[in-house]
């Protein structure tokens, strides 16, 4: 059962593996692979829920930001400015320990999703706004000159085109958010980074533990960015 390797390769491979197995940090990582896996899964879960919330909030905030109604505009601007102008890490602590308890009992995971969702909403808002503004002005003019109302033009002409423009930066935001979920480890959400923290606190194997955590994150972000490139190419050829 050499799995297609030559004998020398096989011997060499097993030798390296034997050597590795003698290293404590390597054992720690291998033994905890299931834990890392579960942490990564929760990381993904939080990311997906957050981006969904972020997209809804972001769309609303973008429209609010472009609205001519003063109050709506101010609210949207304040929301976007606050969440883009302060660190997510501090937002998480403020929301989890300060604000959310005043409103309702949230589990750490719920709080994490709320915090990350609110934060990414602010970034998505700017992406959406940029996307809408990137649609050639002539498109709106052509639609209006046919006799469409502002709303009809938005829905039929501007949004469908903005959608395409917005996809690549949205995927990028997705990737950013995935990395940012590492911060919710501070509120005891047992995601990937928290898994690393626990393991590190009991083994002190910094290079191995944090190295392994990096590898897990890298695989996830790489997969997303390949997906992003693929989508971008597909959109370009369409």
């Amino acid at each position: 059962m050499n799995f297609g390797f030559t004998n020398t390769e096989w011997i060499f491979g097993t030798m390296i593996l034997d050597k590795l197995n003698e290293i404590h940090g390597f054992q720690v990582v291998v033994n905890n692979l299931p834990n890392f896996g579960m942490g990564a899964l929760l990381t993904l879960e939080i990311t997906v829920f957050s981006i969904v919330i972020g997209m809804v909030l972001g769309l609303l905030a973008a429209l609010g930001r472009m609205s001519k109604v003063k109050v709506i505009n101010s609210i949207a601007v304040a929301y976007i400015d606050f969440f883009r102008g302060t660190p997510l890490f501090v937002q998480i602590l403020l929301l989890y320990f300060g604000i959310i308890p005043l409103i309702f009992d949230a589990t750490p995971v719920q709080a994490a999703i709320i915090a990350c969702g609110l934060n990414s909403g602010a970034y998505v808002a700017e992406i959406v706004r940029a996307g809408i503004q990137a649609v050639d002005r002539g498109q709106m003019e052509a639609a209006r000159s046919l006799g469409m109302t502002q709303g009809q033009a938005m829905i039929n002409i501007i949004f469908p085109q903005a959608f395409k423009i917005v996809i690549p930066p949205l995927i990028n935001e997705f990737i950013m958010l995935l990395k940012d979920t590492s911060l919710v480890s501070a509120i005891s959400v047992p995601e990937l980074t928290h898994t690393g923290k626990m393991l590190y606190a009991s083994t002190y194997e910094a290079v191995w533990v944090w190295g392994a955590v990096c590898v897990f994150y890298f695989i996830m972000t790489k997969a997303l960015s390949i997906l992003g490139d693929w989508t971008e190419r597909r959109l370009a050829t369409e």
Binding site: R144, S145, G147
Partner: protein
């Protein structure tokens, strides 16, 4: 049919239209010429209120287009507009580009709109391109679709803003042909153009604009053969 009274338009401090007065009759084809930056596009865009004039009035068949309470979306349906850069909707097929207005704005049934659109596409020589996206068309083809799109709303007047100036030379002809056809069918048209040949052949009247003022107007032969205003003379000496 169209009456323009004392139209003024500024962008910030820049005064682009300095009081335009004119009237255009039904079935008349008016060509607007003049140097770059003289306000030709702005004039056209003020007529259908893509730009809001600061002062002055525009009337279409006696109705004041510039009135604050005018139903501008309905009025615009009666004024088709064709742009220099086509402005086709890139995410729709040519057929959809043409039927979008009738369906979404006029609430026409899709089958009926398709029928009309196909006829219009045939008329502009693109009967076979109905399911193609604008990205696959040449410039001349795009502009012809844009004309069909405007015609689909059955406008009373057509406004053209340099419809051929972003076309490769060998495509200019096909677009001008379509416009010529329209003129002969009796469409009222205002055409901003640098194509002096077209202006001379098809235009009933020519407006020469410079620095926001309608400097001179007259029949093509008056303007091209006997320009009285020195500005007109100097402009024509450069472009003819």
């Amino acid at each position: 049919m169209i009456v323009v009274k004392n139209l003024h338009k500024s962008f910030g401090k820049l005064e682009v239209l300095k009081g335009i007065d004119c009237h255009i009759d039904q079935k008349e084809v008016v060509c607007v010429i003049g140097p770059s930056g003289s306000g030709k596009s702005t004039f056209l865009r003020c007529i259908n209120r893509l730009e809001e004039a600061q002062q002055g009035q525009v009337f279409l068949d006696g109705e004041e287009v510039t009135a604050p309470n005018a139903d501008i979306n309905r009025i615009r349906q009666e004024m088709g507009m064709v742009f220099q850069l086509f402005n086709l909707f890139p995410h729709k097929t040519t057929l959809e580009n043409v039927t979008l207005g009738p369906i979404k704005i006029k609430g026409m049934r899709k089958e009926e709109a398709d029928d009309i659109a196909i006829k219009l596409l045939r008329k502009v020589g693109l009967g076979d391109k109905d399911h193609v996206f604008p990205g696959q068309l040449s410039g001349g083809q795009k502009q012809r679709v844009a004309i069909a799109r405007a015609l689909a709303m059955q406008p009373k007047v057509m406004l053209f803003d340099e419809p051929t100036s972003s076309l490769d030379p060998e495509m200019v002809g096909e677009v001008l042909e379509v416009m010529k056809g329209l003129a002969y069918e009796g469409m009222t048209m205002i055409v901003v153009t640098h194509e002096m040949g077209f202006a001379r052949e098809v235009g009933h009247r020519v407006f020469f604009m410079d620095e926001g003022i309608l400097m001179e107007e007259g029949t093509p032969s008056q303007i091209f053969d006997n320009p009285r205003n020195p500005r007109t003379q100097s402009f024509l000496s450069k472009v003819l």
